[in-house]
Symmetry: C2
Subunit: 461 residues, 2 copies
Amino acid sequence: MTHFPFAPLTYMQRRDAFIQLVGSGTYLFLGNHEVAFNYEDNTYPFRQDSTFLYFFGVNLPNVFAVIDADKNECILFADDIDINMLIWTGPQPLVSELAEMAGIVKVLPTAKLPTYISNRTAYLPPYRNKHLLLLSEWLGLPVAAIKSGPSDKMIEAVIQLRSVKSDDELALMNEAVDISEDLHYAVMRSLKPGKYEYEMVAVAESAVRNFNARFAYPAIATINGQVLHNHEYHHQMRDGQLFLLDAGAEHVSCYAGDLTRTFPVSGKFSNQQKEIYDIVLDAQNAVVDGLKEGVYYRDMHLLSATVIFEGLKSLGLTKGNTDEAVMAGAHALFFPHGLGHMIGMDVHDMENLGENKVGYGDGVTRPTEFGFRSLRLGKQLKKGYVLTVEPGIYFIPALIDLWKSEGKHPDFINYDALEAYRSFGGIRIEDNYVIEKEGSSRIGYNKLVNSADDVESAMAG
Amino acid sequence: MTHFPFAPLTYMQRRDAFIQLVGSGTYLFLGNHEVAFNYEDNTYPFRQDSTFLYFFGVNLPNVFAVIDADKNECILFADDIDINMLIWTGPQPLVSELAEMAGIVKVLPTAKLPTYISNRTAYLPPYRNKHLLLLSEWLGLPVAAIKSGPSDKMIEAVIQLRSVKSDDELALMNEAVDISEDLHYAVMRSLKPGKYEYEMVAVAESAVRNFNARFAYPAIATINGQVLHNHEYHHQMRDGQLFLLDAGAEHVSCYAGDLTRTFPVSGKFSNQQKEIYDIVLDAQNAVVDGLKEGVYYRDMHLLSATVIFEGLKSLGLTKGNTDEAVMAGAHALFFPHGLGHMIGMDVHDMENLGENKVGYGDGVTRPTEFGFRSLRLGKQLKKGYVLTVEPGIYFIPALIDLWKSEGKHPDFINYDALEAYRSFGGIRIEDNYVIEKEGSSRIGYNKLVNSADDVESAMAG
């Protein structure tokens, strides 16, 4: 819990860069607290705020910091434990030792914090209700005012710094994805008809825990891949079904991996499954070929939509002019989510700072059309951005029925042909890439296979 | 997530019993919501409020209920999902179907809730900050007023009903403890020198997941058993050390198990370890022999303290008159926590309603002395109570040094003899018992061994 993945100098440089960007003012950074599971003392596993970790490194609850850009000063607010607590928690590092690890000179008890802030102090958007209450109390403002009061200048400076990953950060992200690849292999080797989805979660969770890591987000482990955020695991798996696993590890440093593979429960894809699988893989490969600094991710999303629509046309499921169909959003019946998102310490990196502030801007605004509007990242890519590439094809009965009943896109969709796919489910393939000057690199070992043949071989072996 | 472990009639009977107890008034029951992990849409695994589950069964977020005792009416407030949500969550049961499963006739959209409550509506103590904010908004009162406003009458009625477990509930608690026993066996069989604590957590978590269950509380899995609530798992285990595992499963019905065993990492206890182990087991057995309806659990705590002090005297670590020593609290140097607590859907059952309201009352008040004050349950036991029995002996260097430096209890403690135990760690043995008219029954398979010899045999086999 008190591991600092970077040297004190790194944290100092990040704070200096922040002060350079904002120029003036006082900035409050709120560390997270413990959250009650079913009563106050039975808590969920602690998760520190990612921005707090980025600038101050202290991975413990109830710690706060203020950066005063006018005075060029950083103060850490935290309290040492007393002997009564020590019986329960064991010896803990002194607050002064934590500060030293983060290159911070000035430390004060938390009780002093209110005297260092005012209603002109900048803060980031609170995503924990405790922070709403604390800010309301400390700044003397109603909760509604706190919600509307986060500082755009502060948000933009944090996004600018955290978006570009350093080599040190990339090393940790590679470790997070290595563990994520391992968990996918462990599940692939355990999969067979008759087992339950939750048994696969057991395998995945155990694989992650064996690296003292945890899930970066609730695993999607389901025979119903067409349900995009499915967190139920109670189905027994049968021969002929697909099993979609979207699971990634959070490394002890808190950097995340986010991988998806879709496996045949029996170890062998049917022809119908393999045809769809190959289209998803084509979309993935087309995007990866195009990724590099300067490209707009919005265009990569449209590229993947185009490959998917074309592929489905070759199977007779779609028809008409592909460019017109994609412009009209007809592909979104099969691919209703975005191609990907930034990833870092947060699996949707910095999402708490505002999706559109992280993924859009510089003249690129978020689309509003169904499907396209779910794209979290649209803007021009820079060297050092890390993002997910995760195209998918899904057959969602309720959505098919709705579009058909509304007579939507009859020139682009062969509704009759879809009948044979009603119980197909869904396929997604997802990897994580870092953007480079002239291309991109896949994060991790790169040992996790992604072609249908290789998946079958790996499951057989 | 939408599994109802009981028949509709059971929920109706519980609500009727509640109305009988309170007689009149309006009562608001708040279901839990999702909690942000590192941003709003990346949530911790959902946990419904236990009292909400007890009366209404609905294991889904953002559901509320009002019981109007004057009108003898129950209303469920919840909203059906729309097609946009359905893509992400898959088809969900209708709110009307959920209500039927809980025997509830009247269902309304959540937006209607505020018109059914007033600042005279009773509510339970909020342990989630979201509830503080919601109550503040709905009742038009400041957060401080909400914190001081929970209804004692409502709290007492809920405690009276939930304290006594029905046969249906006991069946589920037996399943929770069965899984908890399995996890302990799995860890016992995996333990060996060179492994890391987190690898044992991986084994435990996997064992629990294989029953579609989860941990009822953060596992304590440590070579530092003397740290009572140790949630760090990064140590490598060495020959000669003890490994303390305090871990229990939460069954899909949300009933909890809570077991502790202490294993020798090598598979063999040293003589020193076995001597201490046997004292803890003696304390456990003495309490279990005494457990039955009508007994005060405060007296069971003192009984275990007496056995522990006597046992340590036989080793030369304590001295003097045992009764006087226990009255003076000298045993608390080695046994600084309580003997046990109620358990049900919450591992510390109903702790959010107030520890002293659950565990004390009827003339029994909570002690204030160090050690004794950590006893959560002191009152007279009734048939159907389920509780933990968890004596332990710990050698906490910082506490020993403090007492020694303060010259505390020189007539009862042989500080010199303690030097040979400074790096001993701690031993705890914990099982769950249901109170009966003429005794008690251990919950679960009862296959998890608890003598030092049996532990060694199980580890060898």
